[in-house]
């Protein structure tokens, strides 16, 4: 036996990375700085505020060379960035909850104009009931608007994914805006050990910037941006259809690009994250639970304990929520006989979690009946503990022998 193989330095092993201790919001800000955007527009909102404060400080200290626009609200924040992107700028912002709601009008338009703007959503539950605490309701509410949306599990993943998001957004086969979703409170303020990539390595990873090759407001390349389309006949509606179809193609292309970019990241920086769907202890699993975001850590602990207790349970974590990774999830779900899906938000129309709703569509495509149920937890900052996940595992296990309940299980209702 020898460990020599593990210790042999690889040809591509990156330079030693600085290790720091920071919260998720600072990690996001550091990732933004490393990606070298030209323009950042900010408006503070809890629990995002410390993120934009960190960005402002990085710029003030000369550690980041970007034009910062302190706009008068989120609506203008995104609008400023749209203008910047149309003039060729790499652009970034962050928001959440009510700020995202206020931003919705230009938010919808960003994907239609195919602008590769990157925006963190420091997820916050939707009001009302009034709350400033974490939850996925904000990001879930805008899941159908043509932005790529990825959810992070750890602070390190926040930093790394923030950088990767620019490369994904600006890939010529994608050209779509990207949200990096990091859980308000749990990731935004959660402090942990983080490896900080070197600027030269990130520069090499990012390559040349080419933001507005496809649509520009530039006197050197005059064009009319976003003329009216549609109508009852003629070429108008067909023009609109081709725009929309292109957006959908860009979304589908992003699934491949997200995988490629994550693979390149792992190769260059030595850290590997499941790009679309992570399968955890799924070998030999009879049933699985599904998670999203930072709750996954506690869920994995619960899975480990359950496995030690002899339960044949695995975990499926979604990283890329939009576009929904249908094929990758089918592959994972095909291994099990039952699934319980834990959401950190609600789907009002189906009386279940939104991710559960999406999963039901994938289950249908499997072509066989897989009993499933919805769990809703972690609303308004509530903790989903290992204990909660044991309840999830037990309830999901019962699906193997009993009929699935129609009602969701509300995890924190009696905490």
């Amino acid at each position: 036996m020898t460990t020599a193989i593990l210790e042999t330095p690889s040809q591509t092993k990156p330079a030693k990375q600085k290790v720091i201790l920071c919260e998720g919001n600072e990690a996001a800000a550091l990732g933004v700085a490393l990606a070298r955007p030209d323009m950042v527009a900010v408006y503070p909102i809890t629990p995002q505020s410390s993120l934009v404060e960190h960005v402002a400080k990085l710029i003030a200290d000369g550690r980041m060379d970007a034009d910062i626009v302190d706009a008068e609200g989120e609506h203008s924040v995104l609008s400023v960035l749209q203008g910047g992107a149309l003039a060729g700028a790499r652009t970034y912002t962050a928001t959440c909850g009510p700020g995202l709601a206020f931003m919705f009008e230009p938010y919808f338009r960003t994907s239609g104009m195919r602008l590769p703007i990157v925006m963190s959503i420091v997820t916050r539950d939707g009001i009302t009931p009034q709350s400033v605490w974490g939850g996925h309701q904000d990001a879930m509410t805008v899941r159908e608007v043509g932005w790529v949306q990825v959810y992070c599990e750890t602070v390190q993943e926040v930093l790394d994914t923030t950088i990767m998001a620019f490369k994904i957004a600006e890939h010529h086969d994608v050209m779509l805006p990207v949200n990096i979703c990091l859980d308000g409170n749990y990731l935004s303020y959660g402090t942990s050990r983080v490896e900080l990539p070197n600027q030269e390595d990130v520069d090499a990873f990012m390559g040349a910037k080419d933001v507005n090759w496809h649509v520009a407001l530039d006197p050197l390349r005059p064009m009319a941006v976003d003329p009216l389309t549609g109508g009852s006949g003629g070429k108008g509606p067909a023009t609109f259809v081709r725009y929309r179809k292109g957006q959908c193609r860009g979304m589908q292309n992003s699934l491949r690009v997200i995988e490629e970019v994550h693979a390149e990241w792992a190769q260059r920086f030595g850290r590997s994250f499941a790009p679309l769907v992570e399968e955890y202890r799924m070998d030999g699993a009879d049933y699985a639970i599904m998670t999203l975001g930072s709750m996954t850590g506690a869920a994995k602990d619960a899975i480990d304990e359950a496995r030690e207790a002899g339960k044949k349970v695995g975990l499926i974590k979604i990283k890329t929520f939009s576009p929904f990774p249908v094929e990758a999830l089918m592959k994972a779900l095909d291994k099990v006989q039952a699934v319980g899906v834990v959401d950190r938000s609600v789907g009002f129309r189906w009386n279940c979690g939104p991710m559960y709703q999406e999963t039901m569509g994938v289950l249908y495509r499997l072509g066989r009946h897989v009993p499933s149920m919805s769990f809703i937890g972690g609303l308004a900052g509530a903790d989903i503990t290992v204990g909660h996940f044991h309840r999830v595992i037990e309830a999901t296990e019962k699906l193997l022998s009993s009929p699935a309940p129609i009602e969701p299980v509300w995890l924190n209702e009696k905490d």
Binding site: A87, T91, P222, G236
Partner: protein, 446 residues
């Protein structure tokens, strides 16, 4: 092409004293024989006075009919010159001129006509009533006529609308190194951004949202500044988008002093979409959302019940780099302000508020646009002023002896229903607004 100068005559001020004729005769013949003056004041059919004087026509008939080539139009000065060496005294020119601007001078035996005394006409200062003024008639045309019109032909505005001329003049003045924002409204409605792959603009143009024009332009301008390129950021927006739903981004951009030229074309409502009320709609006006009717609860519906928001004054209170109001009835004033606004926008936020009578929505005949615009100013319903931080606010065309506001109101259908009380309200508001702006003009001078 040079300036076209001529002498303008205000018949209302003339009392027929003949001092101008004496001055001309003295200057040109060395005599005080009014009969030899090249300017002739004659009695008119309505017991007033008329002017017989060369108009220095752009298409001069005297030149056309002259068989000797003795009359020539100088296209640099605009003056029509008479050459005695060539003239054969046939007098055909006196028949060709419809203004009696060239006539036989019996003292010399040749025709004689006004030559504007090389730009300093003797008659003008001689008039004791200021009835004569020496004016540059086509300065704007002569200066910008050769500049490229940066809109394509065929913009589809309503008949008689002044917005198209405003757009064309503005953009050719601002120039091709410009990104133009035209938020939803009449300006894109007439095809500036275009439909399904066609466009009416020869420079980069886009539809912002109704709400985010100033913010998007700010992003564009900042990025070009960052990469060291001089690009103008110009908005031609409607009053609704600027004063209502787009006001937040407008105010934010002004507060940040973004380097933008923001022009509001104020037709006092959402005219492109069917003439709905905006916060710039004046009190009492009919719009499709402030209609006239018997009302409910015994209260008749008589048009808008609130006064207009004064957006340009609000912009003054942002201490912008430059703020001005303008009217297409006073193009030289408008051009002067446009030039200042362009320069100011290279330093910070410049705001230009242009009143735009709407033939369709205000309900007046299509040939009356300029007349309505002029009456708005002559009644002080609209005031023309400019502001900068150094000099404060000043009137550019003060109207000291305004016409009653009814002269303005009666020019259009949207005020036809007004009750005497409503008219009194509007007249009182005009007085109040004037006093308010006057107070600012005094207070804000640095």
């Amino acid at each position: 092409m040079g300036a076209y100068n001529t002498i303008s005559f205000d018949a209302n001020k003339c009392d027929g004293c003949g001092d101008c004729m004496t001055a001309c005769a003295t200057a040109k013949t060395g005599t005080d024989d009014k009969a030899r003056s090249r300017i002739q004041i004659v009695g008119s059919a309505d017991d007033g006075f008329e002017l017989a004087l060369c108009r220095q026509c752009g298409d001069p008939k005297c030149v056309t009919v002259c068989p000797a080539g003795a009359l020539t139009k100088d296209y640099a000065s605009g003056v029509i010159d008479w050459n005695g060496d060539k003239c054969v005294d046939c007098l055909l020119c006196t028949v060709g001129c419809a203004y009696a601007g060239i006539a036989l001078d019996e003292g010399s035996g040749h025709v004689a006509k006004c030559d504007t005394c090389d730009g300093a006409p003797a008659c003008v200062p001689a008039c004791p009533h200021d009835a004569l003024t020496y004016v540059t008639t086509s300065r704007i045309y002569n200066e910008v006529g050769d500049w490229e019109d940066l809109f394509a032909p065929g913009l589809a505005g309503c008949q008689g609308c002044n917005t198209e001329l405003l757009m064309r003049h503005t953009l050719r003045r601002v120039g091709p190194e410009t990104v133009l924002a035209t938020p939803p409204g009449c300006v894109p409605g007439m095809g500036s951004v275009g439909f399904n792959g066609t466009t009416g603009t020869k420079i980069p143009v886009f539809h912002p949202l109704l709400t985010n024009t100033a913010a998007m332009l700010a992003g564009i301008k900042r990025q070009y500044k960052r990469v060291g390129r001089e690009v103008n950021a110009l908005a031609i927006a409607g009053d609704g988008g600027a004063s209502d739903v787009g006001f937040q981004s407008l105010s934010g951009a002004a507060e940040r002093n973004e380097q933008i030229l923001f022009m509001v074309v104020d037709n006092e409502g959402y005219m492109n979409t069917g003439m709905q009320r905006s916060s710039c709609t004046p009190y009492g006006a009919w719009t499709s959302t402030t209609p006239i009717g018997v009302g409910s609860g015994g209260l008749p519906s008589q048009g808008k019940t609130q006064d207009a928001k004064n957006l340009p004054l609000i912009m003054v209170n942002h201490r912008c780099e430059y703020v001005a109001t303008a009217s297409t009835a006073y193009m030289e004033d408008l051009y002067d302000k446009l030039d200042k606004a362009i320069q100011a926008s290279k330093r910070g936020f410049a705001y230009l508020h242009v009143y735009s009578p709407c033939t369709t929505g205000w309900r007046f005949p299509t040939d009356q646009n300029m007349e309505v615009a002029r009456k708005a100013v002559e009644t002080n319903f609209v005031m023309l002023w400019e502001y900068n931080r150094t000099d404060g606010l000043r009137f550019t065309r003060p109207v000291d002896d305004p016409l009653p506001v009814t002269e303005y109101l009666r020019a259009m259908g949207r005020f036809r229903h007004l009750s005497p009380d409503q008219i009194s309200h509007i007249q009182a508001k005009v007085v109040e607004n004037l006093a308010f702006v006057k107070q600012m003009a005094q207070r804000q001078s640095a």
